[in-house]
Subunit: 351 residues, 2 copies
């Protein structure tokens, strides 16, 4: 990654983002939902899904009519513990957060609720949804499928997206465990970083456009493909996400998903109310015991400590909240264009 | 694996197994459930969870009072879409299959049902449960936690079991997709095979008893530990299974799980009724399209074809059903002992 040119405060970035989306016709409430989502991704260090990278693409998708800024989501199915939402081509974070809120509300009554959503744009950083579920002392799961770039294990043609999923476990108000991963061995964006540095990528990450193994990042970037993580095991998970977020709920899958920075297949979220199984305090006591067993583990060679899933992102969140979010030259240039075009002042950059 | 000394027919093996369990006081219905489970594992080629390997351990666990052969499972929680079963120290396959049947029955009415089970012995081959769920045109998920042998990523002390999970997708009566995997990079039994052949194990599989990486299978077998598959991603899954099957439902976890060939933490199963989301025929049509995209994939170097998750096991099942189940000298010796001790005739061996 190139050196950053300064930092912006998260609330300044949020305000900029809201103003941008208001300018292209997004209602304030939805503009705030999308902006909060993007800035949260930046705060957690997930810049690939943050405001700098995504705002230009999202704005362009609204301008091209790919995203409907005035969308009204509607129910396709709606029972006490299961629902399916049609997003009316709306913003992914708006539609997926609606699905998540519904899952939480229903699970409070029934113990468990599963909600699917389809017909919306890119849902963003998946962890955002399980972070919401754990606030309610519930376990959350979410998954989404995306345009094909990952081969099935043993194959040479992309069938699956990077197909991420997330699982969140509540602990207390200051601590949760958030698993969030792509089912590909690596994100495409990471390979682009290798290319820009002129470095080789490790074996086992990617194929070139002819389906041959390659360690040349440029050979991947020229219509190449990714491998699933962990061999046939990641393949099984990649396929599972494709069915859960796509085929089960009648959302697009495989090559039916439009390519682009603002597109998505479908989205599935589940909330499980811990206290429907046992008193939350008992679960919490056990969680502290498990966490103690993990964190007290003597580190292996090459490690300083054992981290919980989601712990690096939580630390980055605290740091960036107080010190600001780093700004990189290339994405700042894209934001400048948006700023000029829409007449929205850029957020101040601190050196 | 040593050469096999002959084959037994699956129904002969089933009869032998039922007779053995009857002799140690298991009611006929439960003896049949356990035996069907074990023989199904053998038929699918999962011999580590089959009749030859497990019968001696299960019989011994009954004789030692670890398994209660006359168990009466009871409900701890019981609502329309969520239940928790106490297995009364019964046979894992009996208790876990009861949980699975319940999940399927409830999901037929409500669309989704989640059932936990605790206080039972080893539940066997996890795929057995999702194979049952897919028979009802439902998607099944199941997970179980086991005695600690896997380190958290970056650590050097075992916290998790091999913690397998399974996800099953229905297609039609002759075809389903069954994902079934340990969250460790490899099963301990596989390393024992390397040791018996005097071969080194690949890097990244195991640590010795001091938490140092090793390629010596004997160093692993002497109180060593396994790594999660796919690095920190498998770690996230291993931890997730520990919470789902253990902490969420008040079952033992980590070092609280007794060691042994017949022990288990807890078990969690979920059934999702496809037709609650969309007409099954539409889902099925999409599944055939996805399967076509996968199977028509040109194979990569070193592969003859692309297989679906569960396809190798289904092929082995067909083969062994018609040709018999191979018998290996060491496990046959253990069965002989059981046969002598209980006065139950061994199944005939075909050469």
């Amino acid at each position: 990654m190139a050196d950053y040119i300064g930092k912006v405060r998260s609330d300044d970035l949020f305000k900029f983002s809201v103003d941008v989306f208001l300018k292209v016709g997004v209602p304030r409430k939805d503009a705030e939902t999308v902006s909060e989502h993007l800035v949260t991704a930046n705060l957690r260090g997930v810049d690939s899904h943050g405001a700098f990278v995504r705002i230009p693409h999202y704005v362009s998708a609204v301008q091209k009519g790919i995203i409907n800024p005035k969308s009204k989501a509607r129910f396709v199915k709606n029972t006490s513990n299961l629902a399916l939402i049609d997003g009316d081509r709306g913003f992914g974070p708006v539609v997926a957060m609606k699905a998540t809120e519904l899952a939480v509300r229903r699970a409070k009554r029934t113990g468990i609720c599963l909600v699917g959503a389809r017909n919306m744009s890119h849902v963003g950083m998946l962890a955002r949804y399980t972070l919401r579920v754990v606030e309610e002392d519930m376990i959350g799961l979410a998954a989404t499928n995306s345009p094909p770039i990952v081969v099935p294990w043993g194959g040479t043609k992309p069938v699956f997206g990077t197909n991420p999923f997330t699982i969140g476990f509540p602990v207390d108000e200051n601590l949760s465990i958030i698993v969030d991963m792509a089912t590909s061995v690596v994100a495409a964006g990471k390979i682009a970083v290798y290319a820009s540095k002129g470095e080789r990528i490790p074996e086992g990450w990617a194929f070139d456009k002819d389906g041959k193994p390659t360690t040349d990042p440029k050979a991947f970037l020229d219509k190449g493909m990714l491998l699933p993580f962990g061999g046939y095991k990641g393949y099984g998970l990649s396929l599972s996400v494709e069915v859960f977020a796509g085929l089960l709920i009648g959302a697009p899958f495989g090559s039916r998903i439009a390519r682009g920075w603002a597109t998505q297949g479908g989205f599935l979220v589940e909330a499980i109310n811990v206290s429907s199984f046992r008193p939350y305090m008992e679960y919490q006591k056990d969680m502290f015991e498990l966490i103690q067993a993990i964190k007290s583990n003597p580190p292996a060679e090459g490690f300083n400590e054992v981290l919980l899933p989601g712990e690096p992102e939580r630390r980055e969140y605290e740091k960036r909240l107080s010190q600001g979010i780093p700004v990189y030259p290339d994405t700042w240039e894209s934001l400048k264009k948006v700023s000029h075009e829409l007449g929205v002042d850029l957020p101040p950059v601190m050196s």
